[in-house]
Symmetry: D2
Subunit: 338 residues, 4 copies
């Protein structure tokens, strides 16, 4: 159940209103939007008389029951789109934000070279894996803490905010200077990790699990937001199907539905979805066409020698061409490549 408040209600009255419900045994979520403020009740609201509640409290504009299990990330609770700000970069409505960089940070020289190049091409955020979740314990596991330092050096050099994957909650301090914490597909339902990143105030890029439904994806975002962190970016990265010619199947319908059902920004990762370089550019354009708020694309200065996922990485020239193509199309969609 959500109560949309009247405009300009005094803070004290809202606090009082919230306290009142909490004393009745409900949890609450306060959602402050640009258009209006809402208070969402969590708990057994079946016995709450909605009309009575609205009529007897003059700070409420109107109330609605929420049938979905996700509340805080629900568009019903927060009608306007959430825009997440990372440094000077906006992620959300009106922008098409391109994140790029190598699957794995390999050396300071490499990451700086790539960072400069993708920045010149128009990328606004630099990605780079330091801790790599790999199916095999014998595969390259990333440069770890050292990789984060290299990534920070590239940030220093270029001014690009950085995003990197965090693998467990004990690493949070290590990621202090990382601008966006990425939670990988395999950890989408690592609920203790979700709760932990929910307790800090830093943007989280949450990837959809490889066989998780759209509803489960939203419920995982709900864990983070309900723990206090509203800065969640959803990332569709392909789902596991029977098809073997692609690494995964990019579910573009999911992007449309996520944008309808939630106010959070949604981006696509065409690189991991496809697993094949030649599919990345067309899928990136398709993501823009369905209304995604951005993409995360893997690039490498020398894909053939990449320590990880070279087959799906664009080289720097290909990325530059993609950006040129995207700029033309973003204009058609009234979006700023940001």
């Amino acid at each position: 159940m959500v109560f949309i408040l009247k405009p300009n209600v005094e803070k004290e009255k809202i606090e009082h209103f919230i306290l009142d419900w909490e004393q009745k045994g409900f949890s609450t979520i306060l959602s402050v939007g640009t258009e209006h403020t809402a208070v969402c009740l969590i708990g057994n609201t079946a016995e709450v008389d909605l009309d009575h509640a609205v009529q007897t409290n003059d700070i409420i504009s109107y109330g609605k029951r929420i049938t979905e299990q996700y509340k805080a990330v629900n568009r019903t609770v927060h009608e306007d789109n959430t825009i997440i700000r990372v440094g000077d970069v906006n992620i959300g409505e009106g922008y098409f934000t391109v994140i790029s960089g190598p699957c794995s940070v390999e050396s300071e020289e490499q990451i700086i070279k790539i960072a400069r190049s993708v920045k010149d091409s128009g990328a606004k955020i630099l990605r780079g894996g330091a801790f790599k979740p790999r199916t095999s314990p014998y595969a390259f596991q990333g440069k770890k803490a050292e990789g984060l330092e290299m990534l920070k050096a590239a940030k220093q050099e270029t001014g690009l905010p950085i995003v990197s994957e965090i693998m467990n909650q004990n690493q949070i301090d290590l990621f202090d200077d990382v601008d966006i914490l990425q939670i990988g597909a395999r950890n989408m339902q690592n609920f203790d990790l979700l709760r932990a990143v929910g307790e800090i105030n830093k943007p989280v890029l949450l990837k959809r699990g490889l066989a998780n439904t759209i509803e489960e994806f939203l419920m995982s975002a709900e864990y983070i937001v309900a723990s206090g962190n509203n800065n969640v970016i959803l990332c569709e990265r392909g789902i596991r199907t029977f098809e073997t010619m692609t690494r995964n199947t990019l579910d573009l319908s999911a992007i449309i539905l996520l944008k309808q059902k939630s106010h959070l920004p949604v981006i696509a990762d065409p690189s991991h979805a496809a697993g094949i370089r030649s599919l990345v550019a067309p899928l990136a354009k398709a993501a823009l066409a369905v209304g995604a708020d951005g993409i995360m694309v893997e690039t490498h200065n020398d894909p053939a020698k990449a320590l990880c996922d070279g087959a799906q990485s664009l080289d720097l020239l290909q990325f530059n061409e993609l950006m040129a193509d995207l700029k033309i199309r973003a204009a058609v969609e009234n979006k700023e490549i940001a």
Copy 2:
């Protein structure tokens, strides 16, 4: 194994060349493209000495082994894109052909009304189901032969070529005046039907089965082309996955791969893929963005009262808006909405 012939080889020499291989026990496929002509050998070619064959026959430009199981539909055999002509309409490279109409023909009045409207909006081909494959024997099974007559009346009235689903090979004569035979997803591996439509010379719109791989899809097209009919249009219409929020998952990556691996035109059916009206337009734009040669979109004059699949049908105004959106984007892709 495929032999690409030199330009302007005399017909007789080609026939002799083919006969020669057939006498050695191979089947052959003659593929006449605009750029060059190719002869493909089917059979156990492991023991054929490719170099020797090329060197000893002066009509051959060069030869290649084909590792894929699909031969006649393989781009290796036929490098340039096949363009299929239906009346004045082109389907293939350079065009983005829009097929539209109701899931099911309901009355002559209805189908003519829809036909006129979608034509005005820019659709080039009219669709309409007469024989409907339904999961339940108690559901509406279509207007059958009578439905085909109504469809033909709409063709008469508007000049739009028509496409309708054929359910078994005994219906071929009934479909005499239908311009394109549609083979539905459930019949994608009905091999006797594939062979039967391969023996006539009429365009076939072949839908991907709901859980068939890209390779199986191409093999089904191969059945038709190997039987003598080159006019096959592939249609991606969503695959079955674990996700339940959409009817199916539109596999846009498959469109890209099909275009890479085969010379046949490929279109998308966003209506059946999504099963939800609000997803149709963005998915249609995405299909254009990944390089599809067209779309098939369900429209209805009054979707709420449709006898079949109303929830995924656009009304005529929505379709008109979609067409306006597509025209702008087709221009960016250097394609003619045809």
Copy 3:
């Protein structure tokens, strides 16, 4: 809606009762069980007053609404298990019927040799493919009509009833001497074929489609039974999943649910499900353990040289061992290997 009739109602009264409902616009299905007779109404029964109907007609024992879309195959309509009789062989409750033979009939000598051997081991029905649905048009397509003749010769020789796959409705006459018509997974939703075999009175072995739900499977059986043929045997043969180590994933849960929801006999095909010889015997035992009414197992006198599916075929000795294992376990389950 189903009406369970009182015992020993005169035939005329039943006919009159049926006629009455049909005049009101409903279709009806008459289901004659060993315990009781039922009449099922098909159509919009929402407005029928069930209590009134029961109270005002003294041939009715009681009535029930059926929420499922499948009616004629629904256990609610026909509580006792259907037992299908093929020659001397029973398929259904109390029996565990083993069907065996090669994927493909290759020669008269071969099929007779296999038939004798599997009969000696305890198989009660002989299988053998004559028309083979193959993904590739260039793969061996079966011995066709000639293969059926060989199969009949083996029946002549051994007395075993025979089952073979029919690929389209025009073949029905050709299959005159075939005891059970098999409809393959790829044709599970070839509705015209289902209707055609529903109009003859011969047992049909219907395989589950490779990505069809349990409900869709029952709806396909409903097509056959609603067309007048009650003799349907359901066959679970593995579904398509993301797993690649097996050809398909045998869904043993489906067998349990099919037996709960329908009165039709259900068998398993562990050979096609697994695609790997070493999995066939354990999966066959599992099928028995979950309550299947039988299995269909591929055998070959020389699997390494089989023209089709050799990797999943048991040799005749392995089959004999499996039968010995099954006999011990069937005794535990109070079933007769028949």
Copy 4:
């Protein structure tokens, strides 16, 4: 590459042999079986001359290349079945170990009541969730540390070893008195957790992820064993497919393949796989039939009031009946219900 050592080689010689390879840059895994001891090399073994290595070192009996990515869990490295001992209970070859208890520990009274009952029926290990991974942050999350205390009280009372799910590596000390650490399906690829439980010497029950392949499952087990802990029990608990009538699809073929490819014990969880009470008993019997080393079955004293997963829980009487059924069938399979 694996070297099977001759019998009774002195420890020092083995250590020297291992050191030698590690100095050449390889990692090694020492696998001590009852029949023979093996040393497995991890790294780029392509350039190692296998014959030369065997001939020049007289402690080696023979060597083999291992093509699979999993080494330490590979049956090639360790031919005999691993039997894991928990208190007096054996898990592995010759035994069919039944683990039972509630999805979630609700109170000390409840868990003791259930523990006594399932022990009487023949269960050898008690399960009970204390930390519950739930899709929704608003659902009951378990009794947490308090729940573990209740579980330990039940162990005290009945002598049954206990198993409970650990959700992150920081909880390892909390689980000190828990006999088996369960890693849930959602954490199957939480590699940091796998490594952490690999560093202690306590049995781990590793569940297959809901959409992970058999190979990925073995690779996750490899993480644990390669970190030093050999006591891994694999648990198939159903995979996610398109079918919606069951919660998941129990993949019994996977059990057979896991037993073929690995030496680790494999059990089934029919409760979570099916999600429906009436399927649990037949699937349990099927697991026994395909060669599983045990099952984990959810039981509850009052399933209708269970705080979690009541619909799939057997009541205590039903569990008792299942155990009686299993005893008869275990005897047929020459297994001891242990």
